[in-house]
Symmetry: C2
Subunit: 156 residues, 2 copies
Amino acid sequence: MLQKRKATPEPALPEKLDSSLNNLVGYMMRRVQMKITQDLSNSLEEHDIRPVQFTALTIIDQSPGLMQADLAKALAIEPPQAVLMVNKLEARSLAMRVRSNPDKRSYGLFLSKAGEQLLKKLREVAMQSDINATAALTSDEREVLLTLLNKLYIEQ
Amino acid sequence: MLQKRKATPEPALPEKLDSSLNNLVGYMMRRVQMKITQDLSNSLEEHDIRPVQFTALTIIDQSPGLMQADLAKALAIEPPQAVLMVNKLEARSLAMRVRSNPDKRSYGLFLSKAGEQLLKKLREVAMQSDINATAALTSDEREVLLTLLNKLYIEQ
DNA sequence: TATTGTTATACTCTATAACTATA
DNA sequence: TATAGTTATAGAGTATAACAATA
């Protein structure tokens, strides 16, 4: 069961208060990102999936057989968190550990059929949620934003 | 004393793994925002100030006399968290509660002289950190990004 | 009765140290 | 000895319920 989450509150006193803060990319991005993530979280709730779990499923799908250490790195979480994450996915039969590598300390991670099918649905849900949450932008503006974010993400 | 924080890890296996995730504004924004916030956090560390405390100081400075409830709303935190936040600022003599309103349940929040002086310095630090963290963008691109973020922030 | 601020509490998230089994 | 995974644990962060003082 997912825990209850507060909806992101509307910006309070925005014009006056943020006159210096809204020139900071980090501050503005945090506020916007909270709203978008809340939206995604709500959209995924009916499937009992958290945003980070959706990301994990996507990564496993795109690199089947990867090790937990790789998953942790890709998710920017610590190995112990990856253990709990994979435990949950495995408990729901969405993914599985396969002890198949020459190095017997590590597992290969794979999605189950059910995992693949659920991910297919989740992808649509996530994309729809993301577009809804950025509806204030035109399609072109959204593309520009994604381009700028990719630039910031890739560099360094 | 600020706790130790891990540096944001570099994007792992980016090209291959993110082919679907990097079309999601929410995902990309989260990853970028983590990096920017980490940068800010490091920059503020020598002043023993967290990003949210910097934001609180800025908001109090721009709306002197505001109530804790207003501060909580502007910070998107719950009132009990605002209590702890103001306690810390007051303990460091950066801000103070003044029981001056007609409504004697509430306080007015104000910065001390020391708070104002520190904030002045923090503003420079924060702006420099923000620009450093977005150095992958040209000045024009950064302006476009801020415009798009403001659009997303204000709408709804 | 409702609201401001507060206290107490619990739950999530995250980080680290220490253990195991392999290498 | 070094590494992959795991366990245990502790620390932040955050949410809610309940209370006191005031409206």
